[in-house]
């Protein structure tokens, strides 16, 4: 029999990492899981309720509504931002002095704090003093994001496109810059059309950066909180209340810790699941060629 004493001491080396991960991720997450299966009246009075809160959350029409809104919002911004970002990246000049100027301009929205982005658009879209709001009103279109839910959605989506398309564009630009020029020249000599150059020369080589871009946008858009909170406060009515905002009102506004904890766990699982589905489907299609 082999003595394993000296081997066991190696575990000491990983202790710091285990502790950091435990305190930063595992412990808070397990606390939430713990809350989600209890009814908490005060610090000493709690009742184990099993999966009741989960059932209740999944049956809650306001949760379902917020979820549908969330998915609609994420899908919409994704469908617009990814093609738009690629289009911008392709239209950018390469290897010229203007390139860096454009890149800096593109990066500006990404450098602005999120609540400031909300504030900027809150003022920008106001029908009385905002440039956008006043311009639209001058065209004779009635536009009021605090009164009409359609207008609120349009404003929110425009804001998200303004805020995040740059990310896709910058990533796509980096991907395009790494394509060797002979690939383009060969396609030109073959007589490939602009669309064919994009489809067969650029897109295959952009695949990995676009995967990252879409993953980041999926995660971020599912977690959106600050900007709609500042811009519309979830209104009018509940028309722009997304998952994170409903969750906050439940946990911080009403102190329903049990249901809020169950909600959090479901929310977390949803994001993980969607990202995993996306990632595996991309990887599978890669394996298929």
């Amino acid at each position: 029999m082999i003595k394993g004493v000296s081997n066991n001491r190696a575990w000491l080396a990983v202790v710091p990492v285990v502790l950091v991960v435990a305190f930063s991720a595992v412990v808070p997450l397990m606390t939430v899981v713990n809350y989600s299966v209890q009814d908490i009246f005060d610090v000493d009075t709690r009742l184990f309720v099993g999966l009741d809160w989960y059932r209740e959350t999944l049956r809650d029409p306001r949760f379902i509504d917020a979820l549908l809104r969330q998915v609609t919002f994420s899908a919409t911004v994704l469908v617009i931002e990814v093609p738009l970002g690629i289009w911008i990246a392709r239209a950018l000049p390469r290897d010229s002095r203007a390139t860096s100027a454009f890149l800096i301009l593109l990066a500006i929205p990404l450098l602005i704090p999120w609540n400031v982005v909300g504030t900027i658009w809150q003022i920008f879209a106001r029908p009385d003093i905002g440039l956008l709001g006043v311009s639209v009103a001058a065209l004779g279109i009635s536009f009021n994001y605090t009164g009409s839910s359609v207008d609120a959605w349009i404003t929110l989506i425009l804001m998200d496109i303004w805020h995040w398309t740059s990310l896709v564009a910058l990533l796509a630009f980096a991907g395009l810059a790494s394509i060797p020029s002979p690939c383009y020249q060969a396609a030109m000599l073959d007589g490939a059309s602009t669309w064919q150059v994009f489809r067969y020369v650029e897109l295959p080589r952009l695949k990995s950066v676009l995967t990252i871009a879409v993953l980041l946008r999926v995660m971020d858009s599912l977690m959106i909180y600050t900007e709609p909170f500042v811009l519309t406060g979830g209104g009018p009515g509940n028309s722009t209340t997304f998952l994170s905002q409903y969750l906050t009102s439940m946990a911080v506004g009403q102190f329903d810790l049990g249901p809020a904890a169950a909600f959090s766990v479901l929310y977390f699982l949803l994001i993980v699941l969607l990202c995993w589905l996306f990632y595996t489907s991309v990887m599978r299609s890669e394996a298929d060629g």
Binding site: A186, L189, D190, G289
Partner: protein, 319 residues
């Protein structure tokens, strides 16, 4: 037939003029930055309007864009479409030109067979070896149906064994009688192996052109002699030189020239030995077959036939 007339590089007054014969392979030989790639790109139409004209089949194509010229170009890097299989890669210029299905099918099969990749048609480029990828790129360039094929150092990225193998086949693959092949390289061996003609470039200027052996025997200048020699030419004085392979360690005839030198370095690869000798302030290389065992610092008498001495400043070799 392909002809370039007075094709001048930016800043050069003297342009390159040359007639590339139909059904021949012309090897463009030069060092890095000598203008090989520039010439290749100019012929393909990828350089922005260089001064001078380019003629294909008696027609001035200088004003035509790369798309219209129908010049096939094969690069040093293996350039193929990663998401298309070999069949569709080769077919891509035909599909872009909207050829009929039968024509595409027939052309692709024919080219694949000629380049010996007919068993790989369903594979994707990243499943192929470097040599196979380059064959696909050559087939694709030929599929355009043009009469000019430009290859810009196509075998540099292949490993040594594969390069030798493909080089041997290229001559047969490309000699179809109607194709004009322009093949750039920095290796003089390629000129002998592949070239019906060789074109020596330096500083984007044409130094000399002609049949490889003619240029080898009658180099116009020391630079051309050096380009056609591996290792380089030994300088005797400003207008005479000696090739490393023409020097021996023993006298072969009474009229041989004799040089008293000292051995300063020795390289060998088993079948050949390179003796680095110092003769009257010059560094010479002597190429001998087989292994040599001489101590460094030994004084050596070097012999050469009078007839082997290269005399520069003569007329340029004919085409």
């Amino acid at each position: 037939m392909l002809e370039v007339r007075e094709l001048a590089f930016a800043g050069n007054e003297e342009g390159v003029s040359h007639r590339f014969a139909q059904g021949s392979i012309t090897v463009v030989l030069g060092r890095n930055n000598s203008g090989k790639t520039w010439l290749a790109r100019s012929i393909a139409g990828l350089e922005v309007s260089p001064p001078g004209t380019i003629w294909i089949d008696g027609q001035d194509v200088s004003a035509l864009g790369a798309r219209e010229r129908k010049v096939g170009l094969v690069y040093q890097a293996f350039v193929n479409y990663p998401t298309l299989n070999v069949y569709r890669n080769i077919a891509s210029p035909l599909i872009a030109a909207k050829r009929s299905r039968e024509v595409i099918e027939r052309t692709v099969r024919e080219l694949a067979e000629r380049l010996q990749i007919d068993a790989l048609l369903r594979r994707f480029p990243d499943e192929l070896s470097g040599g196979q990828q380059q064959r696909v790129a050559i087939a694709r360039a030929l599929a355009q149906g043009g009469k000019v094929l430009v290859m810009d150092e196509p075998l540099v990225n292949l490993d040594y064994k594969l390069r030798e193998e493909l080089e041997l086949q290229l001559r047969d693959l490309l000699s179809t009688g109607e194709l004009v092949v322009v093949y750039t390289t920095s290796d003089p061996k390629d000129a002998f192996k592949l070239g019906d003609h060789v074109l020596l470039l330096d500083d984007h200027r044409l130094l000399q052109s002609g049949a490889p052996l003619d240029v080898y025997r009658n180099p116009a200048t020391i630079t051309t002699a050096d380009l056609m020699s591996d290792p380089g030419v030994n300088v005797v004085d400003t207008d005479t030189g000696l090739r490393p392979e023409h020097i021996t360690l023993h006298r072969r005839s009474a009229s041989d020239l004799v040089f008293e030198s000292v051995l300063v370095g020795l390289e060998t690869n088993g079948s050949e030995s390179f003796l680095h000798c110092r003769w009257s302030e010059q560094d010479w290389v002597v190429k001998l077959s087989g292994m040599v065992d001489i101590a460094l610092g030994t004084g050596l008498q070097l012999f050469a036939h009078q007839a082997d001495v290269l005399r520069f400043g003569g007329a340029r070799g004919g085409d």
